[in-house]
């Protein structure tokens, strides 16, 4: 379980996170929802130690230290995080070089599934294709958790479909997934939980099926209540 408690973060004068508390369970797909600039990406980066929090704690399965963090959680930012001059195969070799959890056969499988050419250079790829490559780099490792930052934003519709397929595949099964988005459509029916951020705080933390079951509301309905108010 990834547990975030009382997270605070300010960028100069603006409070981006103002006491955020929530958890993402293993074996579940949790979505961090919020408008642009609501601090979703900051939270993911904070979990990965890519930016310090001003205050608050982050625990992974009850442990606060960063040791083994990167073998346990993979982070898929909204870009591929590799030099543009690298060929795709060079990026895969980089991952294989540094990660014990790297699973080369899964990487090859994913490259085939997304129809990526290992000889292509990253800098020449379209945004949608680069996003697929970022997924390969993040999903090929045998990690317990996967964090994804806006996997659908600014990407063509067919790439979106392919990326959406990943969520219902065994690539995700049994792992904990924490995904951020500001447009819920693609993932709405895939989610277990949704955590809605507003004004630096958690406005709602819902079990999606339960809200449908008990209130007959979609996640989008709940978003309307929160963000239109």
């Amino acid at each position: 379980m990834i547990r975030i408690e009382n997270a605070h973060k300010r960028y100069r004068w603006r409070k981006v996170l103002d006491g955020v508390t929530f958890s993402a369970e293993k074996g579940q797909i949790t979505c961090l929802v919020g408008m642009n600039g609501a601090g979703k990406s900051t939270l993911l980066k904070a979990i990965m130690g890519l930016t310090p929090l001003s205050k608050g704690t982050i625990r992974i399965d009850g442990v606060g230290s960063k040791r083994e963090l990167y073998e346990k959680i993979s982070f898929i930012p909204d870009h591929a995080a590799m030099p543009g001059g690298f060929r795709l195969e060079e990026g895969l070799r980089f991952m294989a070089d540094y990660y014990k959890s790297w699973n080369e056969s899964r990487a090859q499988e994913l490259m085939t599934f997304f129809r990526l050419n290992p000889r292509d250079r990253l800098g020449n790829l379209s945004k949608g294709t680069a996003a697929k490559y970022a997924l390969v780099l993040g999903l090929a490792a045998d990690t317990e958790f996967v964090l994804m930052d806006e996997p659908f934003s600014g990407i063509d519709v067919f790439s979106r479909e392919m990326i959406g397929d990943v969520f219902s595949s065994r690539l995700i099964e049994d792992r904990g997934v924490l995904v951020t988005t500001h447009e819920i459509d693609e993932v709405e029916h895939l989610l277990d939980r949704a955590v809605l951020l507003k004004d630096g705080k958690v406005a709602r933390d819902i079990d999606c099926e339960q809200v449908r079951d008990e209130q007959g509301k979609s996640v989008l309905d709940v978003m309307r209540e929160v963000y239109r108010a």
Binding site: Q28, I29, G164, F167, S168, R170, L191, D192, E209
Partner: protein
């Protein structure tokens, strides 16, 4: 039918629980004969991929169907549609009842006399049956 058994044409609505929509989908397939009594059904993982849904939800749907006696799972073999005639009959009457209730609900405000409705239903039913006779092998139902 495509190679995925027609599963992939399914679209979910966002306001009803997804697992209940899956249960409903199975019931419809049983009643229409696309799933036969005793037929093996896809595993939880397979159905999640086919319907593009969360594997946890697939798990929950299968659990619900097991509780309702819709499917049976023995040991490690794949789950199968029940052979229990009572269950199958009750599914049929459940769906039928629901459809009729929906129909009645939608015409309730039109204040149509009952015999006229019966006549209209009969006419529509026969026309539909005829049009299906004229295109044999349509759905193969």
């Amino acid at each position: 039918m495509d190679k995925h058994g027609g599963w992939m044409e399914t679209a979910f609505n966002t306001r009803d629980p997804v697992y209940l929509q899956v249960v409903r989908l199975f019931k419809e397939r049983i009643v229409t004969g696309r799933l036969a009594a005793g037929e093996a059904i896809p595993s939880r993982r397979e159905i999640a991929a086919l319907l593009k849904m969360n594997p946890n939800t697939a798990q929950r749907a299968y659990k619900e169907m097991e509780e309702q006696g819709l499917i049976v799972t023995e040991g490690n073999s794949p789950s199968r549609i029940t052979r229990d005639e009572d269950v199958l009959r009750s599914i049929r009457s459940e769906l039928l009842g629901e459809a009729v209730r929906t129909f009645v609900g939608s015409i309730r405000n039109m204040q149509v006399p009952f015999p006229e409705i019966v006549a209209l239903v009969k006419e529509e039913y026969e026309a539909d049956a005829n049009s299906r006779d004229q295109q044999p092998g349509g759905d193969g139902a």
